[in-house]
Symmetry: C2
Subunit: 348 residues, 2 copies
């Protein structure tokens, strides 16, 4: 059956997360060293799913450590050769393969200019591991499907462990992540049954907005990327606010909008965006731990509440991953091998 | 005729830019004060078109001053109430109306925590002007069309003047901007004729990717936003690299991709992305000063080369603005009044 790899790697996520937690002491010591260094700010880099993890890091570091964290521009340093001052900042480079050329090159330059460079990768023998001063393992095990799932979830967990440890809360976060793995395990089967009912009516959908805010904007990006790469749906991630600043004008009754609703400070903006979708007559999907608060949703894909709201994205991504697999099969596509993609993108 | 306001404001852009240049001394003195303060980094905030201007600022400040510049998260400070350290950083808030509530609230909090706050707005009597320590005028004149055009171009120019002045190059940038206004004036008429030929075959296009890199990623965002809000096309901006990391898999022969090619360090990546589009059989639009380098484009919308490559986005946006107007009319839509939008978005 097509999509076996993709689905089996989604199912493997709780175990992959537990494997990472066995290495928590490495994150604790690097997190402590990072706190001692007290960086002025943290620069995140990564492409594709790793860029969505970088979005998560902006919020995780901001909330847990209070450090300003940015998704840095790779092109400014690698292609434009801008003379940025890297001293006093820390770099976290995310790459499953550790082989993405411009990520590796960015790390080399940042390190030469005095940044504390950390690489988080699934491949400890990779060029990224060689280029970075500190290497942290992703421990996701070999990822054979082209579309990332378990490496994304482990990147989120790695960032939570690192930022939590830097804030002196590494043990608490590790314990909450362990409970998150259990919740993930309990959720996959019932959710897999639920997404089948959504996949059939979505077979003819060509475009979709995926709306999240704050921490869940990472989830919006990752769900949109899964739908785009495995199902040939053009899915665009938007913050609730960006949606109201223009794209709301493109809605019509055949245009589905997926909203990610978690019970935190971002929820009112998402509820407001969902109301705008209903007013425009668009089809509405509600997912997340607060999916029930989205009034009038056509499809509801709830997940349990995470043990800490900063960890909610680890569970919120599940409905999107599972729907991508089911929808690809409903459309006769193979989610294991999307057209035109390879596992390591060597594009500049 | 519908779209009169939108088109007349596009045509007014060279004059609006010249009005701003009359106020260059204000930018020079604020730029100098900023350089004296030597901020650790610069935080940009804005929604919609102003967020695209913020993307431009990351590159303009990076290239001209070498300062790390980020599009900051409004939600982290305003909704999550994260305790970020604002001392030592500078804030540039962009808002045409000066009335966007969460932008104003962010500025108040950043200022209270020690940031040097600057507001760039078309409304000197606005709440933003009141909240920020320093106010710089946009001088675009009243913007009556809902979709922003001249305020976007003047925001780019304001950022170029400010970052250029901070780098001690304010006079040079002002002179180059003045020549850019002349080039813009010469370009509008011939370009308006050219976009008509593209508007008709695009009448049935529902989705599109707009690809830019580096400085021109701002242009990709702004062209995509214009097409989305005025033409109900779902247009998603992507960097050349992000495109290759997933969305390329969604292409088919009916899926147009717009590439923005300028003659700078970002060009090879854009040429590479265009080749991927051709391989996938997608319809290809090439715009920008190096549009001629995109081999096999179905439609070419060239603009003149800007007097300095850092100013190229002021000209590169023109084909997208003009096509949005022409395409909206071809589809029977009124670009002056997109459905579901109002001039000031009060959404949180």
């Amino acid at each position: 059956m097509s999509g076996q790899l993709f689905l089996s790697e989604i199912r493997e996520q709780p175990d992959a997360l537990r494997r990472l937690l066995e290495h928590r002491s490495e994150f604790t010591s690097v997190g402590r060293a990072l706190a001692d260094r007290a960086p002025g700010f943290v620069r995140l880099i990564g492409h594709g799913s790793s860029d969505n993890s970088a979005v998560y890091a902006v919020y995780a570091f901001g909330l847990l450590t209070g450090w300003t964290t940015l998704r840095d521009s790779i092109s400014l340093t690698v292609y434009y050769e801008a003379k940025l001052d890297f001293a006093g900042s820390a770099v976290v480079a995310l790459s499953q393969s550790g082989a993405t050329p411009d990520v590796v090159e960015y790390v080399r330059r940042a390190r030469a200019r005095g940044a504390l460079t950390m690489g988080i990768t699934n491949e400890p023998g990779s060029e990224l591991a060689d280029a970075a001063e500190v290497v942290l393992p992703l421990m996701a095990g070999p990822e054979r499907a082209v579309a990332a799932t378990k490496t994304y979830v482990n990147e989120l967990a790695a960032i939570a462990l690192l930022s939590g440890s830097a804030a002196g809360r590494g043990d608490e976060i590790a314990e909450q992540l362990s409970r998150t793995a259990d919740l993930m395990e309990e959720t996959v089967d019932p959710l897999e049954r639920q997404v089948r009912a959504v996949a059939v009516p979505f077979s003819y959908v060509g475009r979709m907005f995926v709306i999240g805010r704050g921490l869940e904007f990472a989830t919006a990006g990752e769900i949109a990327l899964k739908l785009t790469e495995t199902c040939q749906v053009m899915a665009e991630p938007l913050t609730a606010t960006a949606f109201a600043h223009g794209p709301v004008a493109a809605l019509d009754p055949l245009f589905p909008v997926w909203t990610i609703a978690s019970r935190d400070e971002s929820l009112p903006a998402v509820i407001d965006a969902a109301a705008k979708v209903r007013d425009a007559g668009g089809m509405l999907v509600a997912s997340g731990s607060a999916a029930g608060e989205i009034v009038g949703a056509d499809y509801v894909l709830p997940v349990p509440e995470a043990p800490a709201s900063v960890l909610s994205p680890l569970l919120s991504v599940l409905p999107g991953q599972l729907l991508s697999g089911a929808l690809a099969r409903a459309k006769g596509l193979d989610p294991d091998r999307p057209q035109g993609l390879s596992k390591i993108t060597r594009a500049a």
